[in-house]
Amino acid sequence: MFVAHTPEQKKEMLAAAGAARFEDLIAGLPRELVRPAFDLPGSMSEMELVRHMEELAARDHLAQSYLGAGAYEHFVPTAVWSLALRGEFATAYTPYQAEASQGTLQSIFEFQSLVAELFHMDVANASMYDGASAAAEAALVAAKHTGRTDVLVPDTVHPQTRQVIETYLAHSGARVVRVPTPSGILEPAVLAKHLGPQTAALLVQTPNYFGCLETHVAELSDLVHKAGGLLIASAYPISLGLLTPPGDYGADIAVAEGQSLGLPLAYGGPYLGLFACRHELIRKMPGRVVGQTVDKEGRRAFVLTLQAREQHIRREKATSNICTNQALCALASTIYLSLVGKSGFQKLAELNFQKAHYAQGVLARHGFPPVFEHPFFNEFAVRCPSPPERIVQKLAEKRVLAGHPLGYYHPDRKDQLLVCVTEIKTKADIDQFGAQLAEAAR
């Protein structure tokens, strides 16, 4: 498939290569192992493939979803992917030859600018794999920067983020120290008990895994800084149209899962790790970064820079092993943020806030009261009158995703369901969902 050489050309090419037959070119391969038999199907035409894929996709058809918990269903303007999937972007390589890659390079520079602005941080890199690995890399930076071992991860951080951090830290000399959060947010008094001379960093996620805003974040920031550690803040990008950005409460590193900025849910990826930090940490920042410069005729131009940190120069002494990142997703986010714009972004956050708060009221009236009294953004936990898993299963039969049962990772929260409502839900959707939940609980 996609081979352009005719049989005649193949003969010519073989002859030019001085080979009588193709086998001469692979004479160095162990003969007894060449061309084994495979138990695999033959090729499909494009027409058959499309039908096959549409059938597979249809099996998972869904009516409505109220599931969030780290991945969010937002409206994606059509222009985002019609531009991002242009072949000139999608089929280009990492922009090492800057003169032939200014499109990619300038878009990354714009991406870095947007991320830094959104987080209110000094600088951002060209992206990481996902929010979880961005948090893990931030933990490694903090441990190296402070020369300390303990990265404090409260139970209000998404458990799957914590798991990735644990994998990355496993052999680094640093470790994850879990901090309990029985009230649904991290309490300063609880944090204080866990701070010490080995505190490298505190990771705070707000809105947190339970949907609550970490209301004491400024105080938490002061506490960890006084203890000599860094504050790593993980934020839900859409919420930053309304809520205080990490830079304003003293974050040294800000990370995020950038999926909400124009990327489809796609069963978990490709997503987009956002990573921003203070000036002082630039040379410890992992991953690629694009800088502005000029060409020899004085034209403004962009180039991959500060590469002395990276694996292809520093090899085993690199700050991180990351090489390929999520450039096309970063481009999509750049287009998304450009289309939505300054006031549109505020309005979007406000819509999420309003719809979720309306939904919380509707669900409460249907017998699903809120678990927490803390402020929230677009996601909240409710107490279920019957086991959440059963409710989820019953609504799944109607092809509705009711939410995320918190008992899975938090056995003490077995009666709780995390529900997310974004801008895409109408009042009618929410009213119907409330009724469906009530019915499923009966």
């Binding site: 193709f22 391969l29 499309v50 991002a84 280009a92 390589y93 800057a98 200014q102 450039a327």
Partner: protein, 488 residues
């Protein structure tokens, strides 16, 4: 200083008050935000996002796209990166709403279609690579390497063995030693022979009981098949270590040779190379890791299993190294790879690898008269040439690479592998027509002539690209990494 600008930044097109995307009016009864959220938690200054219209955005990014070389527009002979055609049908497939809308935490009852795809991708990779299990979680080759190294480490530790050393040939990609370091192990370099193969004597001497893993790129970064690979595998296994294969160059082997058959215990595959998913200007990729049976218990959690015809994700994995991705990995990339597998079929893969090898050998033969240090014998899917002695006075490989841009060819990979002086690594892939390859060779011949007759012309290249050579020192010394309105 007044700079000339090719295309203004999106921020420079912004005008206060210009409306962007319209959102619908809020159709639910509203509440006062300040009643719910304390003032300290509310953003004081809105993020200064651009204020531009959709037509401006469309034109801006379309114009930016025109500043790129890409596979869709140019021959992109970037060695080791396998810049081959990315089938357009895959763009359509990943945008099917029922794929795009799949939430990663869905219950398995509502994920049977996607789980079948993931299960099948694993089965195809196992079969084509001769391995027993694959994890699809790693997001790119480097994360795959890290995963594979952690799995090997866990295997040894589970057996009560401490083996902190990883042997890596000096021709390896920089991510290999970097990944070893992140895994908390020590990289030790193995020498290459003058013809670029692993120095088996040096390897044998360094294969102490401290060694847990030997990493090899197969075919090597010189585009050659390692002739003594089975002997190497035996030595590695006899020493109690495992053999890791960097699968960056797998495009030469699919359907022809299963790495598992020559003794590879762990490998990662770059789906954005061999399996034709787009490079995207630097990602997203996918770096699935395959292992032999004994290593399966240590693969990341969760894994997809099929029980009584139902697909499930299995989380109960007591010996796993953990999770390397927040969810299931770059599933959109995996869907594309699956579609590519079905398009190729097993025979198509074999033709693909054979044609890639044929094209590289054709190029090698045609380039031999131009490069005095060209090694003898056939290559695999790419040809690595040394620019030493080939060009006119003072002209470097970098200059020739830049001059290629003027003729509409993206540059080959240059100065890699590190062991070849003035290296130029050229990978034609199976897609390029013989006609294109012929023009490419003629162009290189012409540039070499230019390098002798008018060396400054080549040293000053490129001349026709949107920008000329950049001041990279300035970029690194005075890092300007974002737009700031007061810093024009």
């Amino acid at each position: 200083m007044s700079e000339t600008v090719i295309e203004p930044l999106i921020f420079e097109k912004s005008v206060p008050g210009r409306a962007g995307l319209p959102w619908p009016a809020c159709d639910v009864p509203t509440t006062d935000v300040a009643r719910h959220v304390p003032p300290a938690l509310l953003r004081r200054t809105p993020a200064a996002l651009p204020e531009v219209s959709e037509p401006q955005v469309v034109r801006h990014f379309t114009r930016l796209s025109h500043l790129n070389f890409s596979i869709d527009t140019n021959f992109y002979p970037l060695g080791s990166c396998t810049m081959k055609h990315n089938p357009k049908v895959n763009d359509r497939i990943v945008q099917i709403p029922d794929f795009a809308g799949l939430h990663p935490l869905r219950p398995h009852e509502l994920s049977q279609g996607i789980l079948e795809i993931l299960y099948e991708v694993e089965r195809w990779l196992c079969s084509l690579c001769g391995m027993d299990a694959f994890t699809l979680q790693p997001s790119a080759g480097a994360q795959g390497e890290l995963t594979g190294i952690l799995v090997a480490r866990a295997y040894h530790e589970h057996r009560g063995e401490k083996r902190p050393v990883v042997l890596i040939p000096d021709s390896a990609h920089g991510t290999n030693p970097a990944s070893v370091a992140v895994a908390g192990l020590t990289a030790v370099t193995v020498k290459s022979t003058p013809d670029g193969h692993v120095d088996v004597d040096d390897l044998a001497a360094k294969l102490t009981p401290e060694v847990g893993l030997v990493m090899m790129t197969l075919p090597s970064t010189l585009g050659m098949f390692e002739p003594r690979v089975k002997e190497i595998a035996k030595k590695v296994h006899d020493a109690g270590a495992l053999l890791y294969m960097d699968g960056a160059n797998l495009n030469a082997l699919v359907g022809l040779l299963r790495p598992g058959d020559v003794g590879v215990d762990v490998l990662h595959v770059n789906l954005h190379k061999t399996f034709a998913t787009p490079h995207g200007g630097g990602g997203p990729g996918a770096g699935p890791v395959g292992v032999k049976k004994a290593l399966e218990p240590f693969l990341p959690s969760p894994r997809v299993a099929k029980e009584n015809g139902v697909y499930r994700r299995k989380f109960d994995r007591p010996n796993t190294i953990g999770r390397v991705h927040g969810f299931q990995g770059n599933v959109g990339v995996l869907i594309r790879a699956y579609a590519y597998m079905r398009l190729q079929g097993v025979e198509g893969f074999r033709e693909m690898s054979e044609s890639a090898i044929l094209a590289a050998n054709y190029l090698k033969a045609k380039l031999t008269p131009l490069f005095p240090k060209m090694p003898a014998g056939p290559c695999m899917h790419e040809v690595v040439v040394s620019g030493e002695g080939a060009f006119g006075p003072g002209v470097k490989t970098l200059d020739v690479a830049k001059r290629l841009l003027d003729y509409g060819f993206y540059a080959p990979t240059i100065y890699f592998p590190l062991i070849v002086p003035e290296a130029m690594m050229i990978e034609p892939t199976e897609n390029e027509t013989k006609e294109t390859l012929d023009v490419f060779v003629e162009t290189l011949r012409k540039i070499i002539e230019e390098s002798k007759a008018t060396p400054d012309l080549v040293k000053g290249a490129p001349h026709t690209t949107p920008v000329k050579r950049l001041d990279e020192v300035k970029a690194a010394r005075e890092p300007r990494l974002r737009y700031l309105p007061n810093l024009k």
